[in-house]
Symmetry: none
Subunit: 252 residues, 2 copies
DNA sequence: CGAATTATGTTCGTTTGTGTTCAAAACGAA
DNA sequence: TTCGTTTTGAACACAAACGAACATAATTCG
């Protein structure tokens, strides 16, 4: 049975990521044993994870819909989000992919109206629906808990039913030859299908992606129409940049 | 039947966010038992939420993943959830539909393993993924914000790619002839497709549904394999029950 | 008016929430 | 490892809250 104190415990846990039994007992003015019983209950519901001495946030999906402070403070990503959102025309049909950068774009679209946005990013859904003025579509697919993404063949099938005016996708890594990579083949197949079925594709990636590597190749920079990032990509071969897409550096 | 005292209770609750039975009894000069009856009534209308010792304002907008709150108090629904979950065999492929009763079933499945669960109920996703031991699939579809359901033709298309061992669906109303109804044609089409594409269908509905009506017909009780509810459905014509599905009354 | 229905009060056994104690388990440092 | 400390969960106890059943008062309606 959920009681108000449980909600307070959840709030405190979410605020601090980790709480101690003793702290909660004092804060809520009950005994240690009562807090323990509460934590057992909340852990059974999967709302927290029990650790010796207290509790932590559960790993993975459960933060869906929860505005994570980390990303809100990430000025690079929110700048990219704003810049990319300016490419989205009113009334258009847009696809939004997986990753925190795509979620920043979603945040920048909150006050727009008349958009039809399809996404396979469950984290983006509450953001997109916040304004209540856009139609939100969701792809099908297998849930990948690590990032609340929908991937796999079912995702590909469902998005092939559409043709997007604009697709906004991210990637895990970007090498100096202008190739885009991800960790998961299932996600790569989704991204490839999206590129195929969209009139225009925007890649959003902050410069941290320049240093990384990942195993599965999605596509080449030249397959996308616009590359939206926060810093000029010095790491890329100049020739690659020249032959590639238009470049949009998010203003500070 | 709403009476003036109910309005006063609502006012006091809204003023203080939380009220105690004892306080209300004194303030309104009636006995504790009367206040309890009032609170039961108001909670049934969704105007307040019952808590031990009193009542609170209903929790506001349901955040995906944070929704748990409201249903946990509803013992009827969690009993139905437990009973229905006992019908789910290990290793089977299950579909889970829209509605708070279906979410109760999800909650009862948390500790199961090896299931493949597909759902068009976004609220059910964080619950289903809590254990981390099951595969969660999501249908595509248009997001209906009122209940975080995915509906429409895209939802139908994506679930037709599967065949389920067991489908668990709810309904908004159930009339005395044993017909199931919903408010939204888009959702009805999904439910119909689910029934078609499942080896076995379980309808979950608490007895509050017996009194209601809704415009769009989903199917007849005889189209489902099992009807799982909390009280014997006296309102139904006995003949209907006899010809219909097996009945599972959730034990108290 | 009287009968039937509804609302409220009263009683009482049951359930629930919390506190307290204590032995076992987990942890951390030597 | 071993020792000492902290944390834990089970068991028990108690008070508050609950709901069912019945009784009584108020009201509706024929």
């Amino acid at each position: 049975m959920m009681i108000p104190r449980h909600l307070k415990i959840l709030d405190l846990t979410r605020r601090d990521s980790k709480v101690r039994v003793e702290y909660l007992a004092k804060a809520l003015n009950v005994t240690l044993q009562t807090i323990r019983r509460d934590l057992v209950f909340l852990a059974e519901q999967g709302l927290i994870e029990r650790v010796h001495g207290g509790a932590t946030l559960p790993s993975g999906l459960r933060n869906i819909g929860y505005e994570q402070r980390s990303q809100l403070n990430d000025t690079a990503k929110s700048r990219i989000g704003d810049a990319c959102a300016s490419e989205v025309k009113n009334g258009s049909t847009v696809f939004l992919g997986i990753g925190t950068t795509c979620e920043s774009v979603a945040r920048a679209l909150i006050h727009r109206t008349g958009l039809m946005v399809m996404t396979n990013n469950l984290n983006a859904i509450p953001i997109l629906s916040a304004g209540g003025k856009n139609t939100v579509m969701v792809t099908g697919g297998r849930l990948r808990e690590s990032d609340a993404g929908l991937v796999g063949p079912a995702a590909v099938t469902s998005l092939r039913q559409f043709k997007f005016d604009l697709a906004i996708i991210g990637c895990s890594a970007l090498d100096e030859n202008g190739d885009l990579f991800d960790y998961d083949l299932d996600e790569v197949m989704v991204s490839q299908a999206v590129i195929e079925t969209s009139r225009k594709t925007v890649l959003v990636a902050d410069n941290a992606k320049f240093d990384r590597t990942a195993p599965a190749r999605i596509a080449s920079l030249s397959d996308v129409s616009l590359f939206c990032t926060d810093e000029p990509p010095h790491q890329l071969h100049p020739a690659t940049v020249g032959a590639g897409p238009n470049l949009l550096i998010a203003p500070k």
